[in-house]
Symmetry: C2
Subunit: 332 residues, 2 copies
């Protein structure tokens, strides 16, 4: 890497970054450049805290993921957690450990990906940390959000009989990754949509806040590791069981005729991960208040919560099958 392409010093990098980060943003008292950032929480609201790692070779590769997508996805992971709490994201800290061949051009595009998404949600980059010379690039994004304490959506509030919803189709991101790996050209809208869903997932913060403010959802979380794994987490936190109907799972559109079987699409939807769609439950009596569409995204009722002893099941062709978590797991 030529000197011109890289940063000469941490100071050089910090000055570069400071130019790109907002000096002024609502609630930001002091941004990048001191030992820590200073922000003003909204009076009476709770702070919502989340951190998410994005690691080269695990969450992204330099071959498949353009730098802007790496930045976008790293922030999207945390924003989606804030969405799942029904909170409003406010500030982000970006910790970036750069592998050797990270050039100034790569870092510029990486931060453009972060900034684009941050701007859309009114999130100010308040600080972070940087290091260089690691074997694989690691990003850790912390987002600080806010919510009135009583409105936060938890995983633990679902009760037997509550209906289960997802916002948007599942498996699209995993399908997009498959298409990227096969170097499929975006020659149709269906293919482009899947690739875009993988590279630039859209956190559902506005929907999360809508559900929280209206007190509609009894429980919520975001689907990051696949429905089979994440529904099991929600059910466990709520000390309940759950039953989904395979026919109701919103599958991605088949990108090319006969290329992928319905079984394969269902498997992507159940276990694919990285969809960052909201999974939420609503008491049956309030289910009619759930909109069918929210800002262009269709909302699907896919099943209902059961008693804990009934476990997790999926009804397929009239038969109830046990549903086992088979999504992504770092420790497996």
């Amino acid at each position: 890497m030529s000197k011109a392409e890289s940063f000469n010093s941490e100071h050089d990098f910090e000055l570069w970054l400071r130019k790109r980060a907002p000096r002024q943003a609502p609630g930001l008292i002091l941004g990048i450049g001191d030992d820590a950032a200073l922000v003003k929480p909204r009076r009476g609201w709770a702070s919502v805290l989340t951190s998410d790692l994005s690691i080269e070779g695990i969450h992204f590769t330099k071959a498949l993921h353009p730098p802007a997508a790496v930045g976008h996805r790293a922030l999207a992971r945390s924003l989606s957690d804030i969405a799942a709490m029904g909170a409003i994201p406010r500030f982000a800290l970006i910790s970036l450990a750069l592998s050797r061949p990270a050039t100034r051009a790569w870092v510029t595009r990486f931060f453009a990906g972060i900034s684009g998404l941050a701007c859309r949600f009114g999130v100010a980059i308040a600080g972070g940390d940087t290091a260089a010379g690691v074997k694989q690039t690691v990003v850790d994004v912390t987002v600080i959000g806010e919510t009135p304490p009583g409105e936060a959506l938890l995983r633990s509030g679902a009760r037997p009989g509550d209906l289960i919803f997802v916002a948007g189709e599942l498996g699209l991101s995993a399908l997009g990754l498959e298409l990227l790996k096969k170097r499929t050209r975006p020659r149709s809208a269906v293919i482009s949509r899947a690739i875009c869903a993988h590279l630039y997932p859209q956190p559902q913060c506005v929907l999360g806040r809508y559900l929280a403010r209206r007190g509609l959802a009894s429980a919520a979380m975001d689907i990051s590791d696949g429905l089979s794994t994440d529904l099991a987490r929600l059910a466990e936190a709520s000390q309940a069981g759950a039953c989904v109907e395979s026919d109701r799972i919103p599958l991605p559109e088949n990108p090319t005729r006969n290329r992928l079987s319905a079984d394969r699409l269902l498997s992507l939807a159940m276990n694919g991960g990285e969809d960052y769609r909201l999974l939420f439950t609503v008491p049956a009596a309030r289910a009619r208040s759930v909109p069918q569409r929210f800002r262009g995204i269709r909302i699907y009722q896919i099943g209902e919560m059961r008693e804990a002893r009934q476990g997790l099941t999926m009804i397929r062709k009239g038969i109830a099958l046990p549903l086992r978590p088979a999504g992504y797991d770092h420790f497996r």
Copy 2:
């Protein structure tokens, strides 16, 4: 690594971690286990946010640093930033990307190191993220602290004529690292002290808060990359120059007779880094109010701020020499 030694799944790891993290702590509404943590900020105070990376091969090695020290140091880095703002640390998020040979025993001791320090400062572990199978272990610690907005200590407040102080001797951590590398046995209190300063640095949060509450310091920061580098940062942020006297720099005690020259000790003190001592400036008229000792740590006046055009200098044997930043830099 045998199965018995490692974690079988993320869920397994999360359950293990949840048992070790506090369920209840002042201000903690919801800790580990949901999409995000919920905390209650103190009314009218500002939140102070900082993240710090600790990377295997850069900030620590498995050969020299016991797992408890890796955890302690990772948290100490962020706590020291909070100390430098004169704030009170409240909550921490721990993001941990584990390299393959990280066993359950390693992780247990790592978290013991974090928890021990967190307890001492009343910091609750509120969340974080985990990943496994990376090439080198990476830790990113985010700490959320609090301060009355008007009391925060910034780097930018130093004025020409303000006196420059450090709390405790400098270079002890770098000396400890040298001794560890040479596999020096801790056969004397002096050696043990240096090794301990390196492995278990003590963030000066109580002193930071003391200076902030009394409005004593015009500027402050923590010395993490070496006095020569960090004083340059403080001076730049304050648009000022600075002059230190080499005779006033508090050097570590020579660990073994004639082993290290005075020049070498001064170099460790100026450029060694990882001391996590507070560097602060006080208007000359208030200098008498600075205690000579604070909780057993001696406070040293090492120089004074100058006009920006006078630059950075060190007076040595009566001669003013230019002082160049030569501390640690990730991008060099």
